[in-house]
């Protein structure tokens, strides 16, 4: 089985290196094909491992070599394939393979085709390190690695110029890339601190050693470690207040949004909480905070999605919202449910994004859903895919999202956190509304673009075929929930609904369903037959507030970015140049001037010298007298 571990891990690396060889040469289709094949190999290896773990219940643990050892610290490159990581590996490689094949079609006309595959595979490699590592430091390698790949891929079209925030809320791809990287770095500092706390209190960064040592630690240490690690998770998973980068990240090519900013990388934070569940289980306050923040973000992000006009941004907000759901589950102790929602979400959200990519491809990169409409006819396949994905996202029975999301909402009820439950239910309704608002505005009604110049056409057939596994999983994944629970709870703590909750589960499910269907119906009423602009509503304060993301990006710019730049300027021009350096030069000048002044003593005139000698003698006498007084 060891070989499978290495194949799963290094096939994406080989793919990245192979594509990099052609990074500066013109587009070569075979680069994309070979990259996809290598990714598929990685998927097969991951699936075999999953099968092995599933059937035997054994876990595979390999240590490749030492990485850093200094003092008493010793960090190996070690990889762990257990129920949690093998789930992640399978999901990641499956979605990646689909996205790679998709990209052959989507990036068809891009001159940096080869470079794109190099970055994309490098991302998968980093993600695999992240999920497979057997220690926190290795996780951090992957953590930063996916950050860099995300930076490279968001800024993939780096040649685009900066625009004003009014024209383009993300300013430019390179701006968005930097924003994402820096914001993640803020969280990474938290994560590093978490590592330091664990190391100095347990003497190791290996998961097994750390978790075994947890019972001996004091409550404050545990809380500090949990908070620090969660700050790390907040950055990668774009939780409030570090969320603004995710929607700006939509500047990247759409396959990137599907893979990185929906299905895999952004779920790394959730993965961390699940992976470190022994720690979070013993810090109930921190866990509750995670659940509360997750619930808040679920609602907060969904509210912004209600009014957005940008196809990709709507899906990005919905990703944010679903990440909130996952954190809510993890924070409430239902780790396996969080992981299940993570997997289900990966399938339908990737599908949704790839569908959006098809639409963009057809509409020549138009993103404004107010300028679409009626695409149903021209793009039947995409319409079906996006419809299915939206049904899954909205939690309609018996699609994947129905099982996973419903379980999360049920958990909130079961834990007695009625407020969280209520918010999550309302959010489910909002989710259904914005998902179908987008579907209707895009595909239904009359065309709102200039039909004389734009002739939308369906994506290549092989692309649609490549997307089919995701569509299939979006539909049926939910039925695997029972066996998944059986499989995963060998490692993760089982979560049981109380007798009472179990009893009224049908009612709870029904409430969610009614709310969700209500959302869809509302969306249909408003947008089912095309767009009817409501000026009054669009000019209302709430609408503007939501459309401008609660003015948070502007706030960050005014409160953080600009003052930082100004302060830096002052530090340089006023403090460094005027105070520090002027003092140094001042001392030098003083020495020079005093030397210059003292030169006047050297007149060559004997009587002058005698005068100075007398002055000196008097001074010496005074010094002698003073020192005599003290002795």
């Amino acid at each position: 089985m060891e070989n499978f571990v290495y194949i799963a891990l290094f096939a994406p690396f080989a793919s990245s290196m192979f594509a990099a060889l052609f990074g500066m040469s013109p587009r070569q289709t075979f680069v994309g094909v070979i990259a996809s094949l290598l990714l598929f190999t990685s998927f097969l290896a991951s699936a075999s491992l999953a099968f092995y773990v599933w059937t035997t219940g054994n876990i595979v643990h390999v240590t490749m070599m030492d990485w850093i050892s200094a003092g008493d610290l010793s960090i190996p490159f070690g990889f762990l394939v257990d129920q949690v990581s093998v789930t992640m590996m399978t999901v990641v490689t499956l979605v990646s393979t689909v996205v790679h094949i998709y990209s052959i079609g989507y990036m068809d006309h891009d001159k940096s085709f080869n470079r794109f595959f190099s970055y994309l595979s490098a991302f998968v490699f980093s993600m695999m390190i992240l999920v497979m590592s057997d220690n926190f430091a290795g996780l951090f390698i992957g953590w930063e690695g996916v950050g860099v790949c995300s930076w490279l891929l968001i800024g993939f079209w780096y040649h685009k110029a900066d625009q004003s925030r009014e024209d383009n809320p993300s300013i430019s791809p390179s701006w968005a890339a930097n924003e994402a990287f820096i914001m993640n770095r803020i969280a990474d500092l938290g994560m590093l601190v978490g590592l330091f706390i664990l190391y100095w209190n347990t003497g190791s960064l290996q998961y097994d050693v750390v978790f075994a040592a947890l019972p001996d630690l004091s409550g404050s240490v545990l809380n500090a470690a949990a908070i620090a690690l969660f700050i790390g998770a907040m950055g990668k998973s774009a939780q409030f207040p570090l969320h603004t980068w995710l929607t700006d990240a939509m500047e990247g090519p759409t396959p990137v949004s599907a893979l990185i900013h929906a299905a895999t990388m952004v779920t790394a934070g959730v993965f961390l909480v699940i992976r470190a569940n022994p720690l979070f289980s013993v810090t109930p306050e921190v866990s509750f905070f995670i659940a509360a923040l997750g619930t808040f973000v679920a609602f907060f992000a969904a509210s912004m999605a209600l009014v957005n006009r940008d196809l990709k941004r709507i899906i990005a907000f919905s990703t944010l919202s679903q990440l909130g759901y996952m954190f809510a589950a993890a924070g409430l102790g239902a780790y396996w449910i969080a992981l299940f929602h993570l997997a289900a979400h990966a399938f339908f959200k990737a599908l949704l994004f790839l569908g959006a990519g098809n639409v963009m491809h057809a509409m020549h990169d138009e993103l404004d859903i107010f300028k679409m409409g009626g695409l149903k006819k021209a793009m039947r396949g995409t319409y079906i895919y996006m419809g299915l994905a939206s049904l899954a996202l909205a939690g309609i029975p018996f699609f994947a999202g129905f099982f996973s999301k419903d379980a999360i909402i049920e958990t909130a009820w079961n834990e007695g956190t009625i407020v969280l439950w209520a918010i999550l239910v309302i959010t489910a309704g909002m989710t259904a509304f914005y998902s179908f608002r987008q579907v209707f505005l895009t595909f239904h009604g009359k065309a709102r673009y200039d039909e004389s110049t734009l002739h939308p056409h369906e994506m290549y057939k092989f692309v649609l075929v490549a997307m089919s596994p995701l569509a299939l999983l979006a539909v049926v994944a939910g039925f695997g929930m029972g066996s998944f629970e059986h499989f995963i709870t060998k490692l993760l703590p089982a979560y049981h609904m109380s007798e009472h909750t179990h009893h009224i589960a049908w009612l709870l499910g029904l409430i969610v369903l009614v709310v969700a269907v209500g959302g869809i119906v509302l969306a249909y009423k408003k947008y089912g037959n095309g767009l009817k602009r409501d000026e009054k509503c669009e000019n209302s304060f709430i609408y503007k507030l939501l459309a401008n993301q609660y003015y948070i990006p502007q706030l960050y710019e005014e409160v953080i970015t600009k003052p930082y730049a100004m302060l830096s300027e002052h530090m340089w021009k006023d403090v460094d140049m005027k105070i520090v350096d002027t003092t140094v030069d001042g001392i030098a000048k003083f020495l020079y001037k005093s030397g210059d002044g003292a030169r006047k003593m050297q007149t060559g005139n004997l009587s002058n010298y005698l005068n100075w000698m007398a002055v000196g003698a008097v001074l010496l006498l005074v010094v002698a007298a003073i020192s005599a007084m003290f002795v």
Partner: protein
């Protein structure tokens, strides 16, 4: 070979002398050959080095002035070994990539002399010898900045010389005083550092002496607020000058702390932790902000150097093997990365004769190779895992966390603000549309440039993925030093804070 270190020190100098008779056209080839041989010698040193022994190796001792205990005393341990290799490597690579054609012969000879002084500083085990090499290193650098520098070169070079010279004079006074105390206690004179290590000094003596050495080292590092010579020196120096200055000369200061201050004055060092950490944090945050405000690419790198040296200073005073080992490793990492970055800036300067960021934009599409290598060095500079920059920074922060979590978090902001100024630089220079006509015809890196950078890229990744061959010997010697400091410390506080590792270490002095 018995006289390995002497050969290593004096080979470049002798070759430099012979260089006077080499004709002008072949001076460059001659210089590169000499530097290459010197580099191979230093690699040989590494292979002959016993990595399991934490003590001084290849020791040579010839008494020079026996009455005063001044001797020709050389040796290397894990801490100095790799700094020497880095010095020879950066000299070689700097020379290969050098674009200067004017007075090339003088430049080559100067560089070879500079190489002698650099290696000399790191192998000297006699304080006077150390001091001689330390001061001699100023002369070639003064000449390099003064003769090949920019418009303000005279001001910059004089400032560099006088400032660091003043610091080292105070250090010299400290050295003389240590020798004097040694004579008082033992009745014999000695300037051998290993003899000085055995001195157990009262805390007030330690504090004064620590302060005297501090001034010398701090200006060299340079620590805030003694850093303002550095932006001028870098701003005016030719590329090769900046490369050597950033990669090697600054390391003399931090090396001095490890070689002198810590083992000789353990109690004073422990008392100095908080003040030094505060200065280090100011260096890290303040200069990173100043770097962000710069308009000139080279100045950004110059200020970022100060910021990274702050990390190194912090690690040295972590008083545990993780922190100090990380610091020494970070010295190498910073040497390679900032050296490479200065070379990269030099390459664009050669093409456009400007280093201002707003003159550029969109270079990634015009010069893709250049952009890739710059990108890798940028990532190493911001401490990305699996690059050389991460290992040192991580260990330093990890180590210092044991001393003070709060200060570690403040220092840790370096991973954020470091990313801010570097990414802003990269965006302004490489991203966006190509707006300036002059940039549209820029040529990508040529073969010489590429091949002088590739080895550095390889090292950046190799030591990021597998730092063990280098980190191991460093760690060994650092552990030995800590064990020794702990034993020697006289105050309880110091004994508490100095943390010795659990593993056993072998220390013996070998020829």
């Amino acid at each position: 070979m018995d006289n390995m270190l002497s050969i290593l020190v004096f080979f470049p100098a002798i070759a430099g002398l012979l260089g006077f008779v080499v004709n002008k056209e072949s001076a460059r080839a001659y210089g590169i050959t000499v530097a290459a041989i010197e580099f191979i010698l230093s690699i040989w040193l590494w292979f002959s080095f016993d990595t399991s022994n934490a003590g001084m190796q290849f020791v040579e001792m010839i008494p020079l002035i026996p009455d005063f205990g001044i001797g020709y005393y050389l040796g290397v341990d894990g801490i100095s070994l790799f700094i020497i290799i880095m010095a020879t490597l950066m000299t070689l690579i700097g020379m290969i990539s050098m674009s200067i054609t004017e007075n090339i012969k003088n430049m080559i000879i100067t560089l070879l002399f500079l190489e002698m002084t650099m290696v000399g500083v790191f192998v000297s085990l006699d304080a006077i010898l150390f001091y001689v090499f330390w001061e001699l290193s100023l002369v070639p650098m003064l000449y390099i900045i003064g003769a090949w520098g920019g418009p303000l070169r005279i001001y910059a070079s004089v400032k560099f010389f006088l400032y660091t010279f003043m610091g080292s004079l105070i250090m010299l006074v400290g050295m003389l005083f240590v020798a004097y105390v040694y004579h008082n206690l033992t009745g014999v004179w000695s300037f051998a550092i290993t003899d000085w290590y055995t001195l157990v000094l009262p805390v007030d003596y330690q504090l004064w002496l620590f302060a005297a050495f501090f001034v010398g080292f701090a200006i060299k590092v340079p620590m805030f607020p003694f850093h303002t010579w550095l932006p001028y020196a870098h701003g005016q120096a030719p590329t090769i000058g900046s490369v050597i200055l950033a990669a090697v000369l600054l390391k003399m200061g931090t090396y001095g702390f490890v070689r002198f201050s810590l083992p000789m004055f353990p109690d004073a060092s422990v008392l100095a932790i908080t003040p030094i950490a505060i200065i280090a944090i100011i260096m890290i945050i303040y200069t990173a902000m100043v770097a962000y405000a710069q308009k000139d690419i080279k100045q950004v790198i110059a200020y970022s150097s100060v910021s990274h040296m702050g990390i190194i200073m912090l690690g040295i005073f972590a008083m545990n093997a993780e922190g100090i080992g990380g610091s020494v490793f970070q010295m190498l990492s910073h040497g390679i990365v900032s050296g490479a970055l200065f070379m990269l800036v030099g390459m664009i300067y050669d093409r456009r004769h400007t280093k201002m960021m707003d003159e550029f934009g969109g270079l990634a599409s015009v010069m893709p190779k250049y952009a890739v290598i710059f990108g890798i060095m940028l990532m190493a500079s911001v401490g990305l895992p699996l690059t050389i920059g991460f290992v040192g920074e991580f260990l330093v922060l990890l180590g210092f966390y044991e001393i003070s979590p709060i200060m570690t978090i403040l220092a840790g902001t370096s991973i954020i603000i470091g990313a801010i100024y570097m990414l802003a630089l990269y965006k302004k220079t490489f991203f966006g549309p190509v707006t300036n006509e002059a940039n549209k015809v820029l040529k990508d890196l040529n073969a010489t440039e590429t091949w002088s950078l590739i080895p550095l890229v390889a090292i950046v990744i190799w030591l990021g993925v597998y730092p063990k061959p280098v980190l191991g010997p460093i760690d060994n010697s650092v552990k030995a030093m800590l064990a020794f400091m702990d034993e020697k410390a006289i105050t309880v506080e110091a004994k508490d804070i100095i943390r010795t590792a659990k593993t056993k270490i072998i220390i013996e002095e070998v020829k």
